[in-house]
Symmetry: C2
Subunit: 726 residues, 2 copies
């Protein structure tokens, strides 16, 4: 080393030392303590922006509830705060934990009683013994435990046979983002890139599984961003820098640093907060508008979880992994007045979000958000008046921290009646018949909503119930893109734009192409548990010239799926079918089997190679529709333990067992898909894009079930004045 | 003839004679007189149900407007009432009409000035000379006329080269339904079927074209129903009885009577009117709910047709054939404050509704509702509070009767702001990053709606404008099924249910399988008229093992369509593309061409044989997307003259000329499709089924155009009380 080299080395080392010292003194956010996390999670105010222009006093529907004395009322009610405390206490005295050097609870959930028991249970009956399912890591081993809250008995199941690891805890994800800062090489790079360590924000990115590297140890990849001059650090990536961290030991295993020459995009025009907009640029486009219910809501939520609205009744609960779970959805038959089973359980089972860039810092980004991050854990408190309309009811989530301490995620789910001005049914007679008829009924629906912010992306999940018996499940995508830094400032500098793997959104910012798949578990019980899956295929029939002046027409052919493989469906525009879940033993007055049909909306199919490791793990997206026989262990389409899993426990594997599904208790699975080629309008935050599918009664009712509902009349509507004049 | 035969004959004849006499004395609705039709059409009260429980005093927004002194303000404003009167007067003195023995005006519309002129016109400039395009039948010949309202000059174009005939007039359709009653055979059949002639309701059904029979004369097929004990006569078909009528001579040409053994379905449970429901069966499921705007609407309608809302501005007019036409839609750029062109003209160009039953009484049912019946002519007055919410603004249609007399269809179109509780964009930071961010903006849209009742079916057409620049076009289907009588009362009596050609909906009622295709004309002008059509295709790329741990990813490849055939698109789930209309000469700051993309929603493809006569006529459904160079004569996808056309003037024929479309003024065509296999819930009236597509900005704006819009705050929202307490 010559003198100049030495001086350069000395200077650099000094810089780093100073930077490290400075870092610890000025960290933008402190390293997490359990109490911080709890504080965050128990106090919804923590999660509200300090930058909002006005404080909103909590209204009666949004008061912070004390959950300390919650008790369960229904067999499906989630674990209460006292129950989670009890689980923690039982486990802490259990040999496995007492003797361990380290342990963490990755999930603590109600173990739902057997379906047969729940179906027999009636309001007022005593509850079944309450049990919890706990997924824990103890001394670097995963365990699935059953904790009996009555007997305090603990059953331990070893999961060594599984390739995957449990959903990460918030605590270890947060801790992982701090690990790189302990590494001098990392800090040097950051400084070299011109980023002040105080401006660093890092994200814990699940690694997926690609071979030996990802086997036999829990890993996380950390990538970082500059928060300087914007809260929207996602738009300021420190490109090409990936730190591989051991999640158990919290050690840096490897630093990949390949983007040194890529500038960090500017902060200008990235901050999306209202408070950060220049007052003269604010666009007040619209006068106030509101959904108003002068006589109050038309629904009730009994015992905190049982929603009763119009002709619907269902059990609703927040869930750390699924977000929300809708159970025992029943609709009242207008003829008999009796409630009829529609769906035993429905929820977001898994997500799969592969990015389409094969390079070092991007290839692994193939997220499975429910199993890896916890879709419910990432669902923050909703913003009243903006996430949900004024007439919304809010429901809290109660979850367990990694040490078993319960915490409350307030206002995590909202329920509201929606009226957009739409029409439930109508008919006008026209001048040809000369009859004076104009009969129209407005369409009002009940929406259940949650919004999960899985780091940058926001997923809005709506379960919408219609009085005509239809259930619409809608997924909205908003939030912030995961972008890639680039030297390019203009497309005209790029010789092969398709090799950008995305769109140049702003100077030095590429929005990388990616897909979103959201797979729903739909345990349909149409008038009882034993159902069949019926495909009604439309095919062209040719007529001979003597038969008809028409050469062709479409004929519907019905086929009942005998086994699982008969029900693996890829949708085809030119080979269309309807997909019915029917009760083959129950028929309408004129003899049609009662049923519900799955009506796919706009969707996308995964086009990745079936042998590509991420597609093996996300093999539940190989088809848009699957049907499996009910099996209480088969609920998570990507497997129970998803982190770094190898795809041996997915819906695709279960379904390939090809079990009989005719006239059985069956589960329908549907995947909504989105291809997302970003565009400049998605910068710096994306307008919501939505897609949906429907569960629609088909010969379930004898006739239109909302024939007898009255129209709107002026005298029923509210009398309103502007707030200022009130 | 023996005595018994003679007696039987005599008795029958007597019956018929008595029936005929009785008929004329007790006709359920009188034969039409011009004044009746006008009365119906000019007076919206005529069209409101006499059966509604309460009368609604017209509110200021729904007052009946006097159009007698209307004047045009914009080059695209529709013909005013005085202008139509002038057209009538000019034509009545024209040689062609003065010397004719019979004539009828089938359409009287504004002849829009050349697009180049309109684009140069500014508010305040004098209007161009106003002209009308009239399609008339004079002495059994079709003519397309141009009437210059200033010079009173008339230019006559012969249309002998066209195979088709003009849109039917309401008058001749109504008259046609009376023709069968003049026929003794027909009346005998009716009586034999057990239907009282006073209970008869007949429909004029367009015949389509199947060969020689339908050539060189204007035809209509009339089928009838029993109105006994129900207004929902559609559910009581007199099956298999089809009367072929000459529309010009009003003569019965042929009676096909093949369903004598099929009973007429019962009336029970078919009446859908609120007044016909038994009070104890009324389902009042919900408390009142309303969209309220305490400070008034956020939009204005200048000069009756220019709608200005938020960042949008567009010209809106009712149209006898298209229903509504949206013109010169422009959106304000949030950076420059200037309005930018998006779409020069958009409307429902044609519908195609083929039924899937090849038998005698059904094969011909392959309707093209816009060109045959007039989609706007069939759009009746909307029902305030039910068709549109309380905050809606209403627009009247002014059309011409067959004799040229103008009439007003009041409240034919509504415009309202909609808020369903949805989210325009959002982001919450999660505990991992520890930032206190919760920014959410509510989504409010502007909806333009009309509802056409083409006999039984009701089509709800919504043009929905979003502040983020997106236009959603939604088609809702409601109204009443066209059903088929059958002897079957239960599916268990049917040996081959697929040969029913539909679903048994009730005893003796089959809902016949059919498709709906709705084709939209979308003259996109993205920042100017010259645009290109760009396909962004996503394809799987394979990686070699050395390149990446990933085996595959998706790459976007862009192709600009050079000629029309490059832009004939069949959608494929497994070969996905985005479809952009771009302005190749205008780029964003970072160099992306500005564009709008067509985002297809759930759709269906026509599967009929391409050589099947109806599919030749409906060949515009052979692809879901087409792009043609702008040509003012190519607006109606099924041709200008659609009745009995042979398909030589359709979009498919134009497109096969394969003209250049790169960097030209281009028109985008999109077809929404529905396969409809009826179910019992559709009986006796169908809950609305919807589908939609979007026109979405893609690199049109430099960034999210609604970044700077404020969130909802409590203090802006209205203060409401129940009507009863007001």
């Amino acid at each position: 080393m010559d003198t100049r080299s030495f001086l350069r080395f000395f200077f650099l080392t000094l810089c780093i030392a100073v930077a490290l010292l400075f870092t610890w003194a000025h960290l933008p956010y402190g390293p997490p303590y359990a109490s911080d996390l709890l504080d965050c999670s128990t106090n919804s105010a923590w999660c509200s922006s300090k930058n909002r222009l006005q404080s909103k006093p909590p209204s009666p529907t949004r008061r912070l509830r004390d959950h300390a004395s919650d008790t369960p009322h229904h067999p499906l009610d989630p674990l209460t705060l006292p129950e989670i405390t009890a689980v923690r206490s039982i486990l802490s005295s259990h040999a496995l934990f007492a003797s361990s050097s380290s342990h963490a609870l990755h999930s603590v959930d109600l173990q739902e009683p057997d379906k047969s028991l729940v179906l027999r249970w009636h309001h007022g009956d005593p509850l079944f013994p309450r049990k919890a399912t706990v997924v824990a890591r103890v001394d670097d081993m995963s365990h699935v435990l059953t904790v009996d809250l009555t007997t305090r008995e603990v059953t331990v199941e070893d999961t060594a046979s599984h390739s995957g690891y449990p959903t990460m805890t918030l605590e270890e994800m947060t801790a992982a983002t701090w690990v790189p800062l302990m590494n001098a090489d990392f800090n040097r790079t950051i400084v070299q890139r011109g980023v002040d360590l105080t401006d660093l924000a890092c994200l814990p990115l699940s690694t997926g599984w690609y071979g030996k590297v990802e086997e036999k140890r829990r890993l996380i990849k950390v990538q970082c961003y500059s928060t300087k001059d914007t809260v929207n650090f996602y738009m300021r990536p420190i490109e090409g820098l990936t730190v591989l961290v051991d999640l158990d030991t919290k050690q840096v295993l490897e630093i990949s640093d390949k983007g040194g020459s890529i500038p960090i995009p500017k902060a200008a025009n990235t901050d999306y907060r209202y408070s950060a907009q220049k007052p003269n640029q604010v666009l007040k486009l619209l006068k106030p508008i509101s959904i108003e219910q002068p006589n109050g809501r038309s629904f009730t939520v009994e015992d905190d979880h049982l929603v009763k609205w119009a002709n619907w009744e269902f059990h609703l609960k927040p869930d750390a992994r699924a977000g929300v779970i809708v159970s025992q959805a029943k609709v009242r038959d207008p003829n008999t007045g009796e409630f009829r089973d529609v769906m035993y359980k429905g929820f977001t089972s898994e997500l799969f979000v592969p990015y389409m860039d094969p390079t070092d810092a991007w290839y692994f980004k193939t997220y499975m958000d429910a199993g890896e991050y916890g879709f419910g854990l990432q669902a923050m408190s909703l913003d009243p008046l903006n996430d949900c309309p004024r007439n919304a009811y809010y429901m809290d989530g109660v979850f367990a921290a990694a040490d078993g301490t319960p915490y409350v995620r307030s206002n995590m789910v909202c329920v509201f009646e929606s009226y957009a001005g739409d029409i439930a049914w109508r008919h006008t007679e026209c001048p040809i018949t000369g009859m004076q008829i104009r009969e129209v009924r407005p369409k009002v629906t009940l929406v259940v909503r949650m919004a999960a912010s899985v780091a940058n992306y926001d997923y809005i999940i709506d379960w919408e119930f219609q009085t005509d018996g239809l259930i619409r499940v809608k997924v909205g995508l908003s939030g912030i893109l995961m972008v890639k830094g680039t030297s390019y400032e203009n497309v005209n500098q790029v010789s092969s734009p398709e090799n950008l793997h995305g769109t140049l959104l702003s100077e030095n910012v590429i929005g990388v192409i990616h897909d979103h798949y959201v797979t729903f578990y739909l345990d349909m019980d149409v008038d009882g548990s034993d159902n069949s899956f019926l495909k009604v295929n439309l095919r062209r029939e040719q007529n001979s010239p003597n038969e008809s002046p028409r050469k062709s027409y479409l004929k519907a052919t019905k086929t009942v799926a005998k086994t699982e493989k008969d029900a693996q469906v890829k949708l085809k525009l030119y080979d269309p079918s309807e997909f019915h879940v029917i009760n083959p033993t129950k028929r309408t007055r004129v003899g049609n089997p009662v049923g519900y049909k799955l009506v796919p909306g706009g969707t996308a199919a995964s086009l990745l190679d079936l042998d590509d490791p991420p597609q093996k793990r996300g093999a539940f997206t190989n088809n848009q529709i699957w049907v499996t026989p009910y099996n209480r262990s088969e609920q998570w389409a990507g497997g129970l333990l998803v982190c770094q899993s190898q795809g041996e426990d997915t819906l695709a594997v279960w379904s390939d067992r090809d079990r009989p599904i005719e006239n059985k208790d069956i589960v329908l699975w549907y995947t909504l898909g989105f291809h997302h080629i970003p565009c400049q309008e998605d910068f710096p935050i994306m307008p919501t894009v939505s897609s949906s599918f429907d569960l629609k009664p088909v010969n379930f009712f004898e006739s239109n079930p909302i024939l007898r509902t009255p129209p709107n009349v002026e005298t029923d509507l509210p009398v309103c004045v502007a707030a200022a004049s009130a």
